[in-house]
Amino acid sequence: MSLIEIQNLSVTFDAKGRAVHAVRDVSLSVPARESFGLVGESGSGKSTILRAICGLAPISAGSIRIAGEAVRDPRGKAFARRVQMVFQDPYASLHPRHTIDRTLSEPLAIHGIGKADARVVQALDDVSLDRSFRFRYPHQLSGGQRQRVAIARALMLEPEILLLDEPTSALDASVQAETLNLLARLRDERGLTFLMVSHDLAVIDHMCDRLLVMQHGQAVEELTRDDLAAARMQTDYARALFDASADRMLEG
C-alpha cells in the first residue's frame, strides 16, 4: 500500500463566476520513503496538488488518501504531525514579526510538546544553522538561511511526509545546491517521503525516483529516473521540456 494515494483528483476554483480547472483527473501514488516529483511550467497545476493535499485548495472530485485513510476536512492535528509542507518563497513563508525561536516553537506549543528550548536548539543544529540565529528576525537572514528555517519548522512535528513546493526556485544556484543536499540528508536520516514540485527537470531528476510531467492541469506522462536519463519519453511535451532543460546546460 502506498503512503500517498491520489485518485482522479480534480481541483476547480471559482474565479468571478468562471470555473477554473486547476487540476483535472490526476492520479498518482507514492510508496513510503520514495521521492516523487511533479514537473511542469507555471499554470500546470503542480503546486495546486500539494495545496489540495493540505486542505489549502478545494478537492472538487476524486480522493486523497494518506496511509490508506481518506483525508478529512479540516485536516486536524493528527494530519499536521504526519504531513508538513515547505513553501516556495522563503521571504513569504516566515512570519515577519516572529523571531526564529518563536517560529520554531510555535508548532510545539500548538501540539503541547514539552522541552521546547532543547528541541529548538536541536532543530537549528539539524539544518546546520548556527545557534546564534535563534533570536533573529527573518529579515536579518538570507534567502537560503530562511529556507533552512522553513525546513526546520516543517520537521518540528517529525512528520513522515514532506511536501516541497519549489523549495529552491527562489534561491541562487549555489544556495540551491546546499539546500538540496540538506533535504537529501534529512530524508536519509529520518526516512522521509517527499512529494516535490519544481519547474526544473534537473532538480527533480536529482532528488526524485519517479516523476509526473504535467501541463494545463493534466498529467502528461509518468517517468522513472532511468527513463529521464536515457531520454525515453513518449509524449512531445515531455520531450520539449527535456530538450529545453538540457539545452540551457553548458556541457563540461
Binding site: E41, S42, G43, S142, G143, D172, A173, S174, V175, Q176, A177, E178, L180, N181, A184, R185, H199, D200, L201, A202, V203, D205, H206, L228, A229, A230, A240, L241, F242, A244, S245, A246, D247, R248, M249, L250, G252
Partner: protein, 276 residues
Amino acid sequence: MSLLEVENLRVTFDTEAGAVEAVRGVSFSLGRERLGIVGESGSGKTMTGRSVLRLIRPPGRIAADRMTFDGQDLLRASERQMRALRGKRIAMVMQDPKYSLNPVMKVGAQLTEGLRRRDRLGANEARRRAITALEAVQIRDPERVMHAYPHELSGGMGQRVMIAMMLIPGPDLLIADEPTSALDVTVQAEVLSILDALVKDRGMGLIFISHDLRLVGRFCDRILVMYAGRVVEELEAANLMQAEHPYTRGLLNCLPRIGGTRGALPSLDRNADWAV
C-alpha cells in the same frame, strides 16, 4: 572605442550600523558585445548594473575613478542629462515584468507613451512603431497584445513586452537584470534567443546579469564573476570550462544535471580572502 568604461566603481550604503560597501572597486569596459555579470545574491551584481544608470537611491552613494558612456562622463552628467540617456540610449530590463509594467494602463498605451511624448510622433506612427517592436520580439498577435492589460499577459509575454518597450528608442546599451529568472524553461530559451538576435542585428552592447553561470556562459561573449562586491575572475565565455578561480569553478559545478550522480552536490567554497 569602447561603449562603456567603468573604473574602480564603488557603491556605499550608509546605514544605522555604519557604512556598507555593496560594490568595491569594479572595473570593466564594454564594446558592442555581450557581457555577463555573474554572482550570488549580495555579490553586488545588480548594484553594478544600476550604477551605470545612476539608479542608486540614498542612502546609497556611487563613486568611481571613471565611468563614461560613449565618451560622456556619467559621474558628472546632470540629472537632466541622465534622464536623456536612460531609456533612450541605455535601457534596462528587470527580473519581473509584473513590477515593471503599469498595471492600470494598456500595453499599447505604455509602448507608445514614450514615442509620443519624447519623440513627438503622431498616434498612427507611434502605433506602427510599437507593433513593429512587438513583432521584433516575436509576439504573434501584436494587435491583441496592444489592447491587453499587463495582468492579462503570461510571464513570458510580459517580459517580451518589456524588452520591446526598451528597444523602441533604439538604445546602444541594454542592461538585463535576471531577465529570464521568473520564466518557464521553454520560454526562457525563446526570450534569450530574441535578445541574442537583437544584439547581433542592431549592434547593441548588452550587460546580462544573472546568478546562473552556465546560462550566462552559453549566452555571453565575456563574463565577470563577482563575489562580495569584487570581480574575482574575468574570462572569455569560450574558456569558461578552463576557469581557474575556485569560486567560479564552484558556481559551475553546483547545479544538478539530468542523469548526473545523486550524491551530494559540490557545495560552494566561500573564502573570505577573495573579497579582500
